[in-house]
C-alpha cells in the first residue's frame, strides 16, 4: 500500500516557482531519500507533504486519505478533521531539532501522546523510556534540551516523533545542523529504523548514507525530479549529465 501518493505538486513563493510538478509514491516499509543541490525544492516538497506549506496545485494522498487536490486550477485542502488525522499518521524530524526547551526530555516525549492521543501518563512514560533506551539516552530523561549535545537533541527529536507512533517518518536534513563527528550517531539510528521497516522519507546531503539506507533515491534540481531509481541506478549507473555533475562535485568535496 502506498502511504504517500503525490501527483504533480506545484508550489511558488511569489514569482519563484520552487516545485514544478513533482510526483512521488512511498509504499509501506520503503525508505526514500531525496538528494539534490541547495534550492532544488527538496525541503519545500517535504514541507508540502507534511502540511507545513500549502501546495498551489496537484494532489496529495497520505495513508489513503486525500489531503489535497486541485479543482479548476486551485488547490483544495481536506477539512480540518481529516488534516488532523493525517498529521497524526506523520512524523517529522527537523534540521534544527525544535525540541520544546521548557520540557524535560521525558516531557518532550510524553506530552503529545498524553494530550493529543489520550494515552495514560503511565503508558506514555513506559513507551518513552523504551524509546530513550533505544536511542541510548536512558540516563537523560530528566535533562533539559539545553543540557544535551546536538546529536543527543536530534535523537530526542526522533524519539519524540516516534512516540506518536506515526506510520511514516520524514527527515528534513537531520544532520545538517550537527558537527561532522555527531552525524554518525543520527545516521545509525535512522539505519536501525530502516531495518525495522519504518517507512521514511529522508532529505539529506549525506550521499553515502542516502545510498546505503534508501530503497529508492530521488534526485531533484530546480523544482523537478531529474532522476529516480534504486541507489545503484542513481549513484552508479546514472546516464544523466546533471546527476553525474552533482555526484562528482560531492565526491570531490568529501
Amino acid at each position: 500500500m502506498n502511504l504517500i501518493e503525490a501527483k504533480k505538486i506545484k508550489k511558488s513563493f511569489g514569482r519563484l516557482e520552487v516545485l514544478k510538478g513533482i510526483s512521488l509514491q512511498v509504499s509501506e516499509g520503503q525508505v526514500v531519500s531525496i538528494i539534490g543541490p541547495s534550492g532544488s525544492g527538496k525541503s519545500t516538497l517535504l514541507r508540502c507533504l507534511t502540511q507545513l506549506e500549502t501546495a498551489d496545485q496537484g494532489e496529495i494522498t497520505v495513508c489513503g486519505e486525500k489531503m489535497m487536490w486541485t479543482e479548476s486550477g486551485r488547490a483544495v485542502y481536506a477539512n480540518k478533521n481529516t488534516l488532523h488525522n493525517i498529521i497524526l499518521n506523520v512524523g517529522l524530524v527537523f534540521q534544527n531539532f525544535n525540541l520544546f526547551p521548557h520540557f524535560s526530555v521525558l516531557e518532550n516525549l510524553i506530552d503529545a501522546p498524553i494530550r493529543i492521543r489520550g494515552i495514560s501518563r503511565e503508558e506514555a512514560t513506559q513507551r518513552a523510556r523504551k524509546l530513550l533506551r533505544k536511542m541510548d539516552l536512558a540516563s537523560k530523561e530528566n535533562s533539559y534540551p539545553c543540557e544535551l549535545s546536538g546529536g543527543q537533541q536530534q535523537r530526542v527529536a526522533i524519539a519524540r516523533a516516534l512516540a506518536m507512533q506515526p506510520r511514516i517518518l520524514f527527515f528534513d536534513e537531520p544532520t545538517s545542523a550537527l558537527d561532522p563527528e555527531l552525524t554518525g550517531e543520527i545516521l545509525k539510528v535512522i539505519r536501525e529504523l530502516a531495518q525495522e521497516h519504518m517507512t521514511m522519507v529522508i532529505v539529506t546531503h549525506e550521499m553515502a548514507f542516502a545510498r546505503d539506507v534508501a530503497d529508492h533515491v530521488i534526485f531533484m534540481a530546480d523544482g523537478v525530479i531529474i532522476e529516480e531509481g534504486t541507489p545503484q541506478q542513481v549513484f552508479e549507473n546514472t546516464q544523466n549529465a546533471r546527476t553525474q555533475a552533482f555526484l562528482s562535485r560531492f565526491s570531490q568535496n568529501s
Binding site: 502540511q51 517529522l92 533539559y144
Partner: protein, 226 residues
C-alpha cells in the same frame, strides 16, 4: 528629636503607601491581561487585501491606541480621563476609578509591546514541531509558546512594574491621595524636607520588594535555557 518627628509623620505616609499599593495592584491586575490582548490584537492578521495593500483594521486600531497612549504624557491622560466626562456630559468619575482607568490603559499599551516582542521571539520551529505532533493552535499557544514567552518577558515586565510604583506620584495631578501627595502636604505643614526623604525611602523599599519578587520568578524559570 528627629525620631519623634518621623513617628509623627508615619501614619500619614503609611496611608499614602497603602494608596500606592492599591493603585499598583489594580493597575497590574487590569493592564497585564489587557496588554496581552493588545499584543494579540496588534499581531492579528485578520483583514483583507486591496491590491498590494493589506488592510488589518483590528491591528491598526490597536496601533493607533498605542500611539496615543505612548505618545502623550500620562499626566495629561490622567487629567483628560478625570475631567473630560465632566466637560462633555457633566458626569464625573470617582478619582480612584479615574486613576486606575488611566494607568491601566496606559500601561497596557506598554505591556502590549513587551508581550508582542516576547511572542514574536519564539522561533517558528516551535509552532511547526507542535503542529507536526498534532497540537491544535490553542494548545500550541498555551502549552508550548506562552510558557516560553513568560520567561522572556519577565525582565522588561519587572522594569515596567517598578516604573508604575513611581508613576503613582502622577496621580497627584487629579488630587488622588497617594504617597507623594502625603509627603508634599506634610512638607508644607511641618516646613521640613524630612517627609520627602521618608517618602523616597518608602518608594525605594517598595521597588526593592518588586525587584526581589521578579528575581525569584527569574530564578524559578532558570531551569532551562532557550
Amino acid at each position: 528629636m528627629i525620631f519623634d518627628k518621623i513617628t509623627g509623620m508615619m501614619p500619614v505616609l503609611l496611608d499614602g503607601t497603602v494608596d500606592v499599593i492599591k493603585i499598583f495592584f489594580w493597575t497590574v491586575i487590569l493592564s497585564v491581561p489587557l496588554g496581552f490582548l493588545v499584543a494579540l490584537g496588534r499581531n492579528l492578521r485578520l483583514g483583507f487585501r486591496i491590491g498590494r495593500f493589506d488592510v488589518r483594521p483590528i491591528s491598526w486600531i490597536v496601533q493607533i491606541y498605542q500611539l496615543i497612549m505612548r505618545g502623550t504624557p500620562l499626566m495629561l491622560q490622567l487629567m483628560f480621563i478625570m475631567y473630560a466626562p465632566y466637560y462633555l456630559w457633566h458626569v464625573s468619575m470617582n478619582r480612584f476609578t479615574a486613576t486606575i482607568f488611566a494607568f491601566a490603559i496606559n500601561y497596557a499599551a506598554y505591556f502590549g509591546e513587551i508581550f508582542r516582542s516576547g511572542i514574536d521571539s519564539i522561533p517558528r520551529g516551535q509552532y511547526e514541531a507542535a503542529k507536526m505532533l498534532g497540537y491544535t493552535k490553542t494548545q500550541t499557544f498555551f502549552r508550548i509558546i506562552l510558557p516560553q514567552v513568560v520567561k522572556r518577558v519577565i525582565p522588561p515586565t519587572g522594569s515596567e512594574f517598578m516604573v508604575l510604583i513611581k508613576d503613582s506620584a502622577l496621580a497627584n495631578v487629579i488630587g488622588q491621595p497617594q504617597l507623594f501627595d502625603s509627603a508634599k502636604k506634610l512638607m508644607s505643614s511641618s516646613s521640613s524636607i524630612l517627609p520627602l526623604v521618608i517618602a523616597g525611602v518608602i518608594f525605594l523599599i517598595l521597588n526593592a520588594v518588586v525587584e526581589y519578587a521578579f528575581k525569584l520568578c527569574e530564578k524559578k524559570l532558570n531551569y532551562y535555557k532557550g
